[in-house]
Symmetry: C2
Subunit: 215 residues, 2 copies
């Protein structure tokens, strides 16, 4: 499958690398077509990997991953181009973390709205599926880094899109338990898990942990 | 030990009943000294149980439990009286849930502040320990309602107060794992778990679940 990664940070790098390793063609998009981090990633990942602008990646990918920083996601998606994304699934991995007031970060949007919803409203023809934002980037594509059973969540308005992403999470990334929290407004709760997540990382001095819902 | 319960709802009722069953003397406080729910609870729980005003309960209890609804907690604590609470521990079980815009509720305060912090700022001589707000009231005093291992969190500025409440959570209520998230600002994250909690309850059609941090 052809996949588009928006963003050149550790999240985009890690998801993109995993997708190439699985045999897919992946284009990493960024603000410019000559981004050095994208070039480095492309070189490291061989013939399945390529890079370009946000728009190039959006045109290329049948499914897109929003791996930009949350504060810049809407702008990045505007650069990707609404018409290039029409009808496609966007897995929104981002968190609207605002580091402008120092650590710990606050959320730029929360409670009665979320980044997931902002993206869905701004691009109504995109099928936004919020997921993977509640775990460290390494864990996203390698859940066995944390032993035992633990959960990943999804939220979104399009049932078929969520089914497709659930399949990808399970079959490609190795997640055993995917909990569907409902429509995209559930992105509020998923993004609002971050403050506890940040605390726990500080206490454990490691990002290798995850939530499990026990019942 | 003498304990004060602020609030006559299901949370106060359940915690108060458990404490009486453990052999403690418990006074349930409310806005008026003739609250019918408090009277009913007192009658049902025998000689260890009594009721009165918020102020009566605050004077009586060596440790206090804030079981009022979050939107009314600050006002209830003002009625309890700052000088009646000086130097005492308040276990803040409340969530600042705002149902005024319908379901699901939003949070009245979050992200850069929390109810736990508001209470600590309003009553600086009170030792606020945020805990138990992330589980259903029945689970608070009976964690075995959910099988297996799962976690309860605490946050607060006073280390000795947190140690005391950790002991109560473990020895009185039966919690096996208590995770200390740090100072009272961690109440933000704990209260911000509620949106996901509310979603999960809707999906499971049961409040008998809990978070476990797997690592």
């Amino acid at each position: 499958m052809k996949l588009g990664i928006l963003g050149t940070g550790m999240v985009g790098n890690t998801i993109g690398t995993k997708l190439v390793q699985l045999g897919h063609e992946v284009k990493m998009g960024s603000r410019t077509s000559n981004n050095p981090k994208a070039a480095e990633w492309t070189k490291a990942n061989g013939s399945g990997a390529s890079s370009g602008t946000f728009s190039d990646a959006a045109v290329f990918g049948e499914i897109l991953f929003n791996c930009t920083s949350g504060m810049g996601s809407i702008e990045a998606l505007r650069l990707a181009g609404e018409k290039n994304m029409t009808g496609k699934i966007l897995v929104d991995v981002a968190n609207p973390l605002d580091f402008s007031m120092g650590m710990p970060p606050s959320l730029n949007v929360c409670n009665t709205d979320s980044l997931g919803e902002q993206i869905q409203r701004a691009f109504p023809k995109l099928k936004v599926v919020k997921s993977l934002n509640t775990v460290n980037y390494k864990l996203m594509v390698n859940p066995s880094l944390v032993p035992g059973d633990h959960d990943i969540f999804i939220a979104g308005n399009d049932k078929a899109a969520k089914n497709k992403i659930t399949q990808i999470l399970k079959e490609w990334f190795g997640w055993k338990s995917v909990i569907d929290l409902g429509d995209i407004t559930a992105a509020r709760g998923l993004e609002m898990l971050l403050p506890v997540w940040v605390r726990l990382m500080g206490i454990f001095q490691s990002p290798n942990f995850n939530f499990k819902i026990v019942r």
